[in-house]
């Protein structure tokens, strides 16, 4: 059965991501672009690349729980320090009646990072099993989470700004908590993982290069 499409690799070529030049492969191993010297991944590196993305994703997932359960910041007010967690904040907002705000925080800070990880995991799984049926869905979601990525650090910035602004010694002070670090780790790891994921993995057949 002829392949559905032809890639550069299948023709024995390698496209340089940096300068766009098409190099002729002399080896299946890693080589360098003849024009700009950038590394051209070896053909079998795909599996390893996917492992890296999986690893990043799992690491992000590991940090997801402390990010939600540990205090993202500690508000010290008149000698009383009130550590607040993301989940606790959402519950507090809901209890005091600001259910709109509670929903925004819940969606932006809790659900979306989780959704991103789930989507990335799904896309990785699709790229592994090569179920064609899911490929268009997976690639659409992938683009969506890549777009969302740029907003993900908003929470961290808010905490960073508050911590910088609210420093009045004993009267009131906000210190970032361990939760913020964990949250930043989740965001960064998810972003890097999304970045490292090549959408083409979704389309490649296992033996596209004819081996």
């Amino acid at each position: 059965m002829p392949p559905r499409f032809v890639t550069a690799t299948m023709l024995g070529w390698a496209r340089c991501d940096h300068c766009g030049a098409i190099n002729r492969r002399v080896t299946r191993d890693r080589c360098r672009c003849a024009v700009c010297g950038a590394t051209l991944p070896r053909v079998e590196e795909t599996a390893q690349e996917r492992r890296v993305v999986w690893a990043l994703l799992l690491a992000a997932f590991a940090f997801y729980f402390p990010a939600n359960l540990l205090p993202v910041m500690t508000v010290a007010n008149l000698g009383r320090s009130e550590p607040s967690t993301l989940i606790g904040g959402v519950i507090h907002l809901y209890v005091v009646g600001s259910w709109g705000l509670a929903t925004i925080v819940l969606v932006a800070s809790v659900l979306i990072p989780f959704a991103k990880m789930v989507v990335l995991g799904f896309v990785l799984w699709v790229s592994g099993t090569r179920r064609r049926r899911w490929q268009p869905v997976a690639v659409r979601w992938l683009r969506w989470i890549a777009w969302l990525g740029r907003w993900s650090m908003v929470d961290v910035f808010v905490v960073a700004l508050l911590a910088a602004w609210v420093q009045f010694g004993e009267i009131a002070a906000i210190t970032p908590g361990a939760g913020t670090l964990a949250f930043a780790a989740v965001v960064v790891l998810t972003m890097v993982a999304t970045e490292r994921f090549r959408p083409r993995w979704l389309w490649w057949e296992s033996d596209f290069d004819g081996t």
Binding site: N23, R32, L40, R51, A59, A62, E82
Partner: protein, 556 residues
């Protein structure tokens, strides 16, 4: 396009690069999620350890308790906080959810007790500014037995045992209001040895005060010990004269409870934990407590009487057997007069009567038939204080105990004592104006003269001086002929002594030139004179300090 298609045949050849990593490098990437997991678990474990154990406690009210703000403290160390305050389904209690540090919660037992500590601002101290800011907090006693529960019933007030390091709890009961609060100190002979740990009214309206006495002073609490309220300062002007009581030390600032034991108060055995003691209103009452068993009588006096107040004593055959409870005006429809209605209580135990109400009532009814009447009488003529005397009046108009509204009315006689009062007032003036000072001075002079005699100087002045003292004493005695027996007898003794001395010194002086005066004899004379001077001085002082002793005899 064709031009470019040709280019595909002349593609640049990729340059060799360093081969990709070996097996280890390929798998090393898994270290990233593993490390992340380890960190997450470690941080999570720490958070779990710090988050504390959730325990819910039921309280009757959530006053002062705020979710997220109220702290849980143990020995003044913060060990947790209130995470939620909710109502129980039946709406009759508040369920307070506490989060307590794990390592502290480990020590909670089934019999742990929780209570709310509210900040107190007392005369003693303002308990720390931070307490004012932080408000009430919850504290607990971890208990001793059983495993930790997740639900506890909170106490309405701090438990009786509030101190470690030993001591005993006792319960004081009082029918009157005592100005007490938790923390009011307990004094034993001026030393603060404990404090009030709780106070509550029982269903019968008796105030039950729980006190804690620290070791080793708890050994000083005997079965027969008496407790009384120690007010900062108390001055009472009554039939017994002026009674002033000033507390010592801290009690001077805010009062307290004092206790003591004296041999006549009974059992000297150490009181057991939880022993019940009556709490007396003051030291006088503690020393002479009103018995529990009492009869209440109503007296209808024919006319207004001043000087009758609550606690005015009631006497019977010279025994103090009761007190006035109150005096109310009563309008008589028939005579259109207002007359006082005096309520008195009588303690039959003071008369060694049986402790059976029916029998005692019968005895009193019989006595009334025999002529027992109540009569207001002067107690202290100087202060105008009165007493109610229960006296048998021979040939009294027949009367009976009349029961009205649940209480018997005791037949009363009109008060009559103005004549006596006048006499005694006059007497007091006489006594006050008597030349006490001069008398003492002259006696001293006489003593000096005798000393001179003893020192073998001019012996002739001594008898002369003594004679002048004697004359003055005679004049004094003549002026005080209405003085009470005691004053008279003291002065008479002085006079007698002086007379003897006069004779003695006179004869001694006569013999002076002829032979040596025996020193021992002179020594004795000198001492007698000095004693006489001292006796007069004491008498004068006593009269100045306790004028009422004129009427009632020597002050107790």
């Amino acid at each position: 396009m064709t031009e470019h298609e040709n280019l595909l045949t002349q593609l640049p050849e990729a340059q060799p690069a360093t081969p990709s990593g070996a097996g280890f490098a390929r798998w090393a990437i898994w270290l990233l999620p593993i490390t992340a997991l380890v960190i997450a678990f470690w941080v999570g474990y720490q958070a779990w350890r710090d988050a504390g154990v959730t325990v819910s406690v039921r309280f009757p009210t959530a006053a002062g308790i705020e979710a997220g703000k109220t702290r849980v403290r143990y020995k003044e160390v913060e060990v947790g906080r209130v995470t939620a305050v909710t109502l129980d389904p039946a709406l009759d209690q508040v369920v307070v959810t506490l989060s307590i540090n794990r390592d502290v919660a480990r020590h909670l037992r089934a019999d742990a007790r929780f209570w709310v500590v509210k900040p107190r601002v007392t005369a003693r101290a303002v308990t720390g500014l931070e307490t004012l800011l932080s408000g009430a907090y919850i504290t607990f006693d971890p208990g001793k037995n059983g495993a930790r529960q997740s639900h506890y019933q909170g106490l309405n007030e701090p438990p009786l045992v509030s101190a470690e390091g030993g001591g005993k709890r006792f319960v004081l009961t009082s029918r009157t209001v005592a100005p007490l609060e938790v923390g009011t100190p307990l004094y034993f002979r001026g030393l603060a040895v404990g404090e009030v740990v709780g106070a509550a009214l029982d269903p019968e309206g008796t105030l039950r005060v729980s006190v804690f006495v620290r070791a080793p002073y708890d050994e000083q609490v005997r079965v027969g010990s008496r407790f009384w309220v120690q007010q900062a300062a108390r001055v009472e002007i009554g039939g017994r004269g002026i009674v002033a009581e000033v507390a010592s030390g801290l009690a001077l600032l805010h009062g307290g409870i004092a206790f003591d034991w004296r041999p006549p108060w009974g059992d000297a055995a150490q009181a057991q934990e939880g022993h019940l003691f009556p709490l007396y209103a003051n030291m006088q009452e503690a020393e002479n407590p009103a018995p529990e068993f009492r009869l209440i009588f109503r007296l209808r006096l024919p006319e207004g009487v001043s000087g009758l107040y609550p606690r005015t004593p009631v006497f019977f055959s010279g025994f103090e057997v009761g007190q006035v409870l109150g005096v109310l005006p009563r309008f008589d429809e028939r005579t259109e007069r207002v007359s006082p209605e005096v309520w008195i209580e009588v303690w039959p135990e003071r008369l060694d009567l049986p402790k059976e109400e029916a029998r005692v009532q019968a005895i009193f009814a019989a006595w009334v038939k025999e002529g027992l009447r109540a009569q207001p009488k002067p107690m202290s003529l100087l202060t105008g204080q009165k007493m109610i005397d229960l006296v048998f009046v021979p040939r009294a108009a027949p009367a009976e105990l009349v029961w009205e509204g649940g209480y018997p009315t005791f037949p009363a006689l009109p008060a009559a004592f103005d004549e006596v009062a006048r006499t005694v007032t006059q007497l007091a003036t006489d006594l006050r104006d008597a030349p006490w000072k001069e008398l003492v001075t002259e006696l001293r002079d006489a003593a000096h003269g005798l000393r001179a005699l003893l020192d073998a100087q001019d012996p002739r002045s001594a008898p002369r001086q003594l004679r002048s003292v004697l004359q003055r004493t005679d004049r004094l005695l003549a002026g005080l002929e209405r003085a009470p027996q005691e004053v008279m007898s003291t002065l008479a003794q002085v006079r007698e002594t002086l007379a003897t001395l006069e004779n003695l010194t006179a004869s001694l002086a006569e013999d002076w030139g002829e032979q040596g005066v025996p020193r021992a004899q002179l020594q004795a004379v000198l001492q007698s004179t000095q004693r006489a001077a001292r006796a007069v001085e004491l008498l004068a002082e006593a009269l100045a300090r306790h004028p009422e002793s004129l009427i009632r005899g020597k002050a107790r």
